[in-house]
Symmetry: C2
Subunit: 381 residues, 2 copies
């Protein structure tokens, strides 16, 4: 047989598959109605496992066994999505504790904190997001920022979550899990690292360079040309500028912002020393209250999956089957459980969307410790 | 209708679905034979897109449109897997450049390097993997290690890739992409961080603590109780022990191994200060040669996906449909392309397995810049 004939046969099979699929989904709607009336849960693991065993027993090769199992995992998952959707329409839904508010940019009587000292990138990002006249102050550590928000001594905290060259800020991810604080906004700031020193210093004088570890990492290629310089990490870039100012030692340099040079009256020895000319940091705005606005279009969640084959894949299927666009996936180690992970997924949508509610109901039923970290407006230039 | 009747109807539909699925896969085998004879490529994007448009036009709701599209993406992907498998059987396969060897643990005339100074965890891991009598020396940076291997001035390098509490070592992932070096083994070392100081020091004397950034991170909870201590990062933990020995200043402490205390004649002020009592680091053994053994049971790959919805999910499908167990997924930013990522996946298998070859052929056709980073024996205690 030639390809054309084979494809014609395939087309005929596909016509039947489509008809059967639609018929099956119609019956799933009836099942949903039954479940609405009786309060029976959507997910029946025993029934699904029996079905998988049966379909596998019906086919003849190892390859088709795998294939038919995957196919039915997908079909049953879609049936569940449909049932969740109908449950939602009937008002039977898992209420999230999130509260819809008008706007979070309202700065009247709000206090905002950032991590670090004046001149830090966090402060610059905060001022760009909330405006120059917002009531604000710096705290020493990321943990202090989360603690202050938790105790409601301030309304919002601005913390870096990811750099476009260095990757994620692990501490921020871990603190989101440790604290019941929520992401309510994001801001992206272009990072131009500069080499700062005292007014009398020349490049040949430098022996030690101070910065935040990510600052040193972002400038690794530049620093590789100066291997005799000792690299020392401090809490943040602006703190390293402050140290150089205080020590007034011309062998010291700091990697920090041009704004930090102005703030601490230092000389810019070299501009733009970070290796990527598109280097940006994404900051999150964190609140103790689980709030979102109708304009929010990005959701962040995290969850664990059982330490079994295929569990991560099945979790991700909830996004796809609901037509939800995942924009990011990260993993972080679980404390005390070596080589097991918590997954962080960002996706597009609003907590009021039916599709988002379906995906979250499914994920909640089929993953471990699902948490909604926030629903907020995606940064746009 | 009650649930029992509805389920009976579903069972009848499923019987038909299974029959059609198996029939479709049989025809796919014929298609594979045709393609073997004509040398036509397996993946025909145009034909698949036309099919997806057609199936979507046949159903009536938005929900079933999404569902049927996903279902056919999966069915067509399975057909391709089957075709790749038959191509493989007929000797038409993508030869990887990997060479099968007997054993890599053969230490005769081999030179091994590690990053750091004597007493470092990398050295301890190296000695455990290759034995105490292996010819070895330390180099200054991770990059130096990769460069030395590339120039074949040494045969193997041992570098940390992941810590069970702190997460991945970004630099190691990035260097695997930058250099054409390959992972040929792995070793896991339990990390017990200790606080080291000069023989005359007391805990009250300490003002500054030195370590590698991951060392400081692993002991963050302990250091949080000593907020007055200045934390300074150095290249590695053993280098910080060396510094304390050289300075002979009782206000200085280092976070490093007990072995480093012995090596540099220091006092152990406090044992086990890392917060997890199951803290381990996974090391990789890297070679310039793409070699693997028949006992190798873990594959590491990396790839990029097009910046479109669903592309990551489709890439991961190649593992699942071939019955391959993914054990890890990580992402790292792409240089100069903010908020785009390269994905690193570890999975179980040997490059000689048919299923692994299928998955890699599929991934190569449907992702960007697929690289096989290595095939090696998984660490076992």
């Amino acid at each position: 047989m030639d390809l054309k004939e084979l494809r014609k046969e395939i087309d005929e099979i596909d016509t039947q598959l489509v008809t059967l699929y639609e018929k099956r989904m119609k019956i799933s709607e009836e099942v949903a109605k039954y479940k609405i009336n009786t309060g029976k849960p959507v997910f029946d693991k025993e029934r699904e496992n029996a079905k998988l065993d049966w379909v596998k027993s019906q086919v003849h090769s190892e390859f088709t066994k795998h294939g038919i199992e995957e196919l039915f995992l997908q079909i049953m998952s879609m049936s569940r999505k449909l049932q969740y959707q109908l449950l939602n329409k009937n008002g039977i839904q898992d209420k999230t504790s999130f509260r819809l508010i008008d706007t979070i940019e309202n700065k009247k009587d709000k206090k905002v904190i950032f991590q670090g000292v004046p001149g830090s990138y966090s402060q610059i990002a905060m001022l760009e997001y909330f405006g120059e006249d917002v009531d604000n102050y710096g705290v020493e550590t990321f943990k202090d920022a989360m603690e202050t928000i938790k105790n409601q001594a301030a309304d919002y905290a601005v913390l870096p979550i990811e750099n476009s060259s260095a990757g994620i800020v692990n501490m921020s991810y871990d603190l989101l899990v440790e604290y019941d604080n929520y992401i309510v906004g994001e801001h992206i700031l272009r990072i131009d690292q500069a080499l700062l020193a005292t007014k009398d210093a020349k490049i040949e004088d430098i022996k030690t360079v101070y910065s935040h570890p990510q600052g040193l990492m972002q400038c690794a290629k530049y620093l590789d040309q100066h291997r005799d310089w000792k690299q020392i990490s401090l809490q943040n870039t602006a703190a390293s500028a402050l140290k150089v100012r205080e020590d007034q030692d011309k062998t010291q340099a700091a990697i920090a912002s041009i704004k930090a040079a102005e703030t601490y009256d230092l000389q810019v020895l070299q501009e733009a020393i970070n290796f990527s000319d598109t280097n940006s940091t994404r900051f999150m705005v964190v609140s103790h209250e689980p709030i979102f606005t109708i304009k929010a279009d990005k959701v962040s969640v995290c969850f664990e999956v059982a330490h079994e084959s295929g569990t991560l894949y099945n979790a991700l299927a909830h996004f796809i089957y609901n037509g939800i666009n995942m924009t990011k996936i990260e993993s972080r180690p679980l404390e005390g459980r070596p080589w097991e992970y918590r997954f962080f997924v960002d996706f597009e949508g609003n907590l009021n969307d039916g599709s988002v509610q379906n995906a979250l109901m499914g994920l909640k039923a089929e993953t471990i410790d699902l948490r909604i970290l926030g629903n907020y407006k995606k940064y746009e230039e």
